[in-house]
Subunit: 397 residues, 2 copies
């Protein structure tokens, strides 16, 4: 044996003696993460297997196939990225943008702004059109912008988690085909919960997350790419300027070659496989209808309490409801009260809606009438204490 | 209520009816993933909490602090990236390279090649020096290359998973300081298992993975950046050309501001917190000694069976052993036999060592004498059947 070198002393300044983890069971009714299905959580706790094990390869195919079902697409290149939804968002841009390409981003909330930021990092000529946070784009508005700017990619968010708005999709795919433009759609807060027909809508690129509608914890980013996007990617002059998210390499691992790219997050994929299995068992129509009916319960209940919903009824997302914080109420104080006293998380506003709305999520496993009742009851009984005291003079008047 | 639009029919071509997940318990003695500690797996199955929940914020601080201990660094910017080790590898380059920067990569195996590939995607002027797969660089070789090429970054792999070689670190940090060059170190197969003293070694950038020495499943990529690397990042002319891995943004979430960047993979971080807690409980010296002694058992046992180890004794990694496949043996057939008949995974060679070696990992939770005994016993009893039959003539001679 070669004698071991004498080691320098170990510095214990950052060593900590901690108790075992003891996080509480919260009810997560904010914009995400949402609660995961108990069956999915049990799958995460399975012992890992190798990422090139034949049994794992089979599981990969199952995940791909069930993602195609959930998205209603035949796209060959349908895989979960080994990062959160934001990584899948970045993958949709990194693989398809070449420097100087015009990318048109239709911004109507926080995640549209993120798309624009990301696209710029890939040296696109980024053009944005904007709508107030709480509205959707009309087909005419999009048509006008596409005809004016002639983009290579039109990027738009289907389900804006920051505003609770669902973008109507009719005609957008045809518009993009007419102008030889790729259609990129953010489905983070719609996959598994809100009607989505990628192929019928002629969507070329889409991404989502593992939590929310799929009831798996956050950590994977479903990604799909149609033949037109694939052709643009394959024709690019240089390598994709992002190694980790390079679909030309990932395709060799997820495709029939199974060439090692990176060590897959196998346990997260165990969870994803179970989440998608449960969704297929329930059926898309049933899952969509469940989300719709529970949200309608929520909307009716909130309005019955005199609260105002930020999104117009025709554009409301069944997964994420924006509720206007009544005048004089400290919205943050109420949501902190819900968290600390009742273990229920409700989100605050982001960006233009910061301080103006609460964001209530009913997604995946959490979309249950019992959760709606529980929350409405707390709004009814506990919100009044957070309303400003009415001044006696005003009462007299 | 707004009437629901009539939905097109759902296509069930990709719908699958699957049985609940039933992956087997394998013993993963390859290059990774390795088995996770049962306590870590139980943590993964906890119900998620919000990524801005005060309890999660506290957990983030614990993870950061324990990573500093494991790496022996005081670096403020020490965080797990929300992707696998390869994402953390890419983060170390993406944040610090500006177009045209010379990056010197010392290549002595597969992961050195990956560093060079990634650096090129960030438009570095990539210069490589190479050694055969199974050797390490001498300080003089590195000194000569740094003096010649004057790089902004020297990137080198501490523990080459493809060859089983541990790079001696003495003097490299001083060399880099003398030439005003950042030292970037791959510690994927050393963190938690092999002596590592980042600050003492004057390492400016390092990354690792959540599995292997840490005994958590793959999915997170520990990342750390010292003050010199931070200064280079903060002085860059434009945005970091990778949004997901942008440390200037991530720092606002992991730092004292806690500004939302992306939805954290909370369950993976539950596991990471437990993995690091267990490592701190055992203590670095004890964990390093355990890995060393179990590997010595393995090395002695393999050599007693007449097998040759590919790495010279003085450079051998305690985590990953490369064993030469004896002449005439179908290495892949033997490892498939181990997997299918005994549920034990052993790796094959990568790149220049493909078909030439087996790769045996004893990492983290798996570094136990019982596993060594089990594997040695199988090599002794079952490998002979895979050796070529000796021709009678040869016996006579």
């Amino acid at each position: 044996m070669v004698p071991l070198p004498v080691l320098p002393p170990v510095n214990s300044a950052h060593r900590r003696t901690l108790a075992p983890i003891a996080t509480p069971d919260r009810l997560l009714l904010g914009p995400g993460p949402s609660n995961a299905h108990p069956t999915v959580l049990q799958a995460l706790a399975r012992m890992p297997i190798g990422h090139l094990d034949p049994l794992y390869v089979e599981l990969m195919s199952e995940v791909q196939e069930l993602l195609r079902y959930a998205w209603q697409t035949d796209n060959r290149l349908t895989i979960p990225m080994s990062g959160t939804g934001s990584a899948a968002m970045e993958a949709s841009l990194a693989n398809t943008i070449e420097p100087g390409d015009t990318v048109l981003v239709a911004v109507k909330g926080y995640f549209g702004l993120r798309l624009a930021d990301m696209a710029g990092r890939y040296r696109a000529n980024v053009v944005t059109i904007e709508k107030p946070w709480g509205e959707a784009f009309s087909l005419a508005e999009l048509e006008n912008a596409v005809a004016t700017h002639r983009p290579k990619i039109l990027a738009i968010v289907h389900a804006e988690t920051s505003t609770g708005i669902c973008q109507p999709m009719e005609g957008i795919g045809d518009l993009c085909r007419q102008h030889d433009c790729l259609l990129l759609l953010d489905t983070v807060t719609s996959l598994g919960a809100v009607p989505l027909y990628l192929d019928e809508w002629k969507v070329d690129l889409a991404y989502s997350c593992s939590q929310k509608g799929l009831s798996c914890p956050p950590g994977l980013g479903p990604f799909t790419m149609g033949p037109r996007a694939e052709a643009k990617m394959m024709a690019r002059a240089g390598k994709v300027p992002n190694w980790y998210l390079d679909v030309t390499l990932l395709n060799q691992y997820w495709g029939s070659d199974r060439v090692y790219h990176h060590t897959a997050p196998v346990n997260m994929n165990f969870g994803m496989r179970e989440a998608l299995r449960l969704l297929a068992e329930e059926g898309l129509e049933a899952a969509w209808a469940r989300h719709r009916s529970n949200s309608e319960l929520l909307w009716a209940g909130l309005e019955a309490l005199g609260l105002e919903l930020h999104a117009p009824a025709a554009l409301r997302l069944p997964t994420l409801t924006t509720v206007r914080i009544p005048a004089g109420v400290d919205g943050k104080a109420f949501s902190q009260h819900l968290l600390t006293k009742h273990g229920i998380e409700v989100g605050g506003g982001l960006g233009a809606l910061a301080g103006k709305v609460w964001r209530i999520g009913l997604m995946g496993y959490n979309s249950q009438p019992e959760n709606v009742d529980l929350l409405l009851n707390l709004f009814e009984t506990e919100l009044p204490a957070f309303r400003p005291a009415v001044a006696p003079a005003a009462v007299a008047a």
